[in-house]
């Protein structure tokens, strides 16, 4: 299964929100949809789910229009989306039925998912009597009640404690393994790095970066090297090696650790050889890749 988003344009009144958005998502993979507040993430999600049409461009699943493909969606909105004052089980059954299930199946599935997130005992309670984290788990059960093919999670980890976050991670992991498409929108880059093989980064209505996360990182500057060794003053020790010909700078913030910036990334082996030759007993030699957070700030940071 392959979800393609092609050349999507959308404006509301005078505001041009999406200016030609392209990306693809594959089953068995999670795609991280990144972007600052107001970048257009929620708009593109709603267009994918057919809440409103794009001005131009198209969404397709395996080459078919979404409605023809018969694929189902599960959506976890950032701004939660259930009735606060109504009974939890009834609401989840209702959502399941709206998505085409019959009452019996919807009830079975609702109970199953409530059990999976450990909320069975709250099935007959009103939603607003629960803590925020527990409400979030109820929302997840509502999202997954129809066993959707394509799952869109908008900031799923907000409000979850580490134990619940782990449970969500496990569930998302299972969904990915079972061949669903998972679209994951978040500001929490740590989670995105854990789940997502590929990313699509939106900034001001355009995709500024997309593709396989590893490849993206590899494409970044590989001239920074982290060196760790069990020596008292690593900076002093390194300066004795006289690395000026290949290194631009040497910095050390913690004892036993230094970051060497090479003039040319191709000199990595040369540096390693010299370090070995110096007999300083290396603990670690690592090419420093930028974190997703750094990439995000770089790509989406400027106004």
């Amino acid at each position: 299964m392959r979800l393609s988003v092609k050349d999507i344009e959308k404006s509301f009144a005078a505001k041009h929100v999406l200016k030609g958005v392209n990306f693809e998502a594959e089953s068995g993979r999670a795609l991280g949809l990144l972007g600052r507040n107001g970048a257009g993430k929620t708009t593109i999600i709603r267009i994918i789910m057919g809440v409103f049409p794009p001005d131009a461009g198209e969404i397709s699943i395996d080459g078919m229009k979404v409605t023809q493909s018969g694929r189902t969606f599960g959506y976890l909105p950032e701004e939660r989306g259930l009735y606060p004052k109504q009974i939890i089980l009834n609401q989840i059954i209702y959502i399941g039925m709206l998505r085409g299930m019959n009452r019996h199946d919807a009830k079975q599935s609702a109970l199953r998912w409530l059990g999976r997130v450990g909320m069975t005992e709250y099935a007959d309670k009103k939603l607003n009597t629960l803590s925020k984290g527990n409400q979030q788990k109820i929302q997840l059960a509502a999202t997954l009640v129809n066993d959707p093919d394509i799952i869109i999670l908008d900031e799923p980890f907000s409000g979850l404690d580490p134990v619940n976050a782990q449970m969500l991670k496990d569930i998302v992991g299972e969904l990915i393994d079972s061949g669903r498409i998972v679209l994951f929108s978040s500001h929490q880059m740590g989670y995105v790095e854990q789940f997502c093989d590929s990313i699509a980064m939106l900034n001001q209505g355009k995709i500024v970066l997309s593709g396989n996360l590893k490849e993206i990182k590899r494409g970044y500057d590989r001239s920074r090297v982290l060196v760790c060794a069990d020596v008292p003053d690593i900076k002093e020790r390194l300066s004795q090696l006289n690395l000026r010909d290949i290194a631009e700078s040497v910095e050390s913030e913690e004892s036993g650790e230094a970051v060497i910036k090479l003039k040319d990334a191709a000199d990595r082996d040369k540096l390693l050889r010299r370090l070995i030759d110096s007999g300083m007993n290396l603990d670690k030699y690592e090419i420093l890749e930028p974190t997703l957070e750094e990439i995000f700030v770089e790509k989406a940071g400027e106004e």
Binding site: R80, G81, L98
Partner: protein
């Protein structure tokens, strides 16, 4: 269709589970039963027994003290006077010994509420404390009683038989027959009652639709709903659910009214006003139901659209002002139609969808409207209701984008135009 049914069933079910809705239904039902049962019970208790006449109208207590100074000897005794002066404790004074000044004093002192002097058969004086509007009513009442007593005396003195006297004193019966529709007198009461019901329920249930939509928006529940169902189904399901809940409620109330009216019909049927309401022609009942449903739908659709415009439930009252004005125009148009059902403005109003439920309904009640005219107005209103409903669902869909500032009508129109293609 299946989705619409799901939304409808859920929304309707929510009303039936809603405590406020249930309590309101029960309280009004209890009030209806109380109102229809208590007066007959009380009259059996206090009025019916002593004169042996079960048909007696509600008893009036003798609350006022009257000094009757009868110089002409029209009344033999105080009890004879009280027979015709039902709400008075009569003190009869036939010798005229007391002077005006002392009587005035006893009125000021509160011993009597008023005094009536029968100076001669055809010359009376009424004395009471100035008592606003009731002074005139009281003096009229006593005058009537005394004057007819005097007339009776004259007839007797002229040697007429009881039958002749009865013939002379009986009030002639006037029956009015109007051509071109049912008579105004008969129709006025039930038309008025139905109009009030229509007006109250449209505002009441329309507000419920607006509140339901606005709650969905402010709680963000629509975020999930709108990605799980078609907005048309969500809006129409909600309108139908609320409408059916409203009909259920009204149905319960009407059933209570009918059952308890019939149980006590012996008592109530003597009141012309009330028995007229229950004797309305069946075709009027059918029209009332049709126009109730149409009126509810068109206004529920408008209210639904308004509900999607606001961000918080409290804002509904502000945006609902134009709707209330529309309802009021319809309401007053309907009053105008009672007075002149075939006037130009009234006729035009009766074909404008938002006013049809009020104005056309009244016209049907009080005059003869051609069948094709009724059909056209019903069709127009039904089409508009669906049209406004579709519009409401578009606004609802766009409502997801419009948290924060409420859009101006210009912006709204621009967006609606854009969304046409969808």
């Amino acid at each position: 269709m299946k989705q619409l049914k799901t939304v409808f069933a859920y929304e309707y079910g929510q009303y039936l589970k809603n405590k406020v809705f249930l309590v309101f239904t029960i309280i009004i039902t209890a009030l209806i039963i109380l109102f229809l049962t208590l007066p007959p019970l009380l009259s059996d208790y206090f009025g019916g027994a002593d004169d042996g006449n079960a048909q007696a109208p509600a008893v009036t207590a003798r609350t006022k003290n009257l000094l009757l100074v009868d110089k002409a000897g029209l009344f033999e005794s105080e009890s004879e006077a009280e027979e015709v002066l039902l709400s008075y404790n009569v003190t009869l004074q036939s010798d005229g010994s007391a002077d005006d000044a002392s009587i005035k004093e006893s009125i000021d002192g509160g011993q009597y509420d008023s005094a009536f002097f029968i100076n001669s058969g055809a010359d009376y004086t009424y004395m009471s404390k100035s008592n606003g509007i009731t002074t005139g009513m009281d003096s009229e009442e006593i005058y009537e009683a005394v004057a007819s007593r005097y007339r009776l005396r004259l007839y007797e003195e002229a040697g007429l038989t009881q039958e002749q006297i009865a013939g002379l004193t009986a009030a002639p019966q006037l029956s009015v027959i109007e051509t071109g529709g049912s008579g105004f007198g008969d129709t006025y009461v039930y038309t008025y009652v139905l109009l009030m019901l229509l007006y109250i329920s449209i505002i009441l249930y329309g507000q419920m639709v607006a509140t339901a939509v606005a709650t969905e928006k402010s709680s963000r529940a629509m975020e999930l709903l709108i990605t799980s169902a078609k907005p048309n189904n969500l809006i129409f399901g909600k309108i139908l659910g609320t409408g059916t809940a409203g009909l259920t409620q009204i149905g319960i109330w009407l059933a209570a009214v009918l059952v308890f009216y019939n149980i006590n019909s012996g008592f109530w049927s003597q009141y012309d006003m009330i028995s007229r309401i229950f004797n309305m022609p069946p075709d009027i009942v059918i029209y009332a139901v049709i126009f109730y449903i149409l009126g509810f739908f068109i206004f529920a659709a408008i209210y639904g659209a308004l509900g999607s415009l606001v961000n918080r439930v409290e804002e509904i009252n502000t945006v609902a002002v134009p709707v209330v004005l529309l309802v009021l125009i319809g309401f007053f148009g309907a009053f105008a139609a009672m007075a002149s059902p075939n006037g130009l403005i009234v006729t035009i109003l009766s074909y404008i969808p938002v006013f049809t439920p009020f104005v056309m309904f009244v016209r049907i009640c009080v005059t003869e409207v051609p069948v094709y005219g009724i059909a056209i107005s019903i069709a127009l209103t039904a089409l508009s209701a669906v049209g406004i409903g579709v519009l409401a669902s578009k606004i609802y869909r766009m409502g997801t984008l419009m948290y924060g500032q409420r859009p101006s009508f210009k912006e709204l129109f621009a967006m609606l135009k854009k969304s046409k293609a969808y």
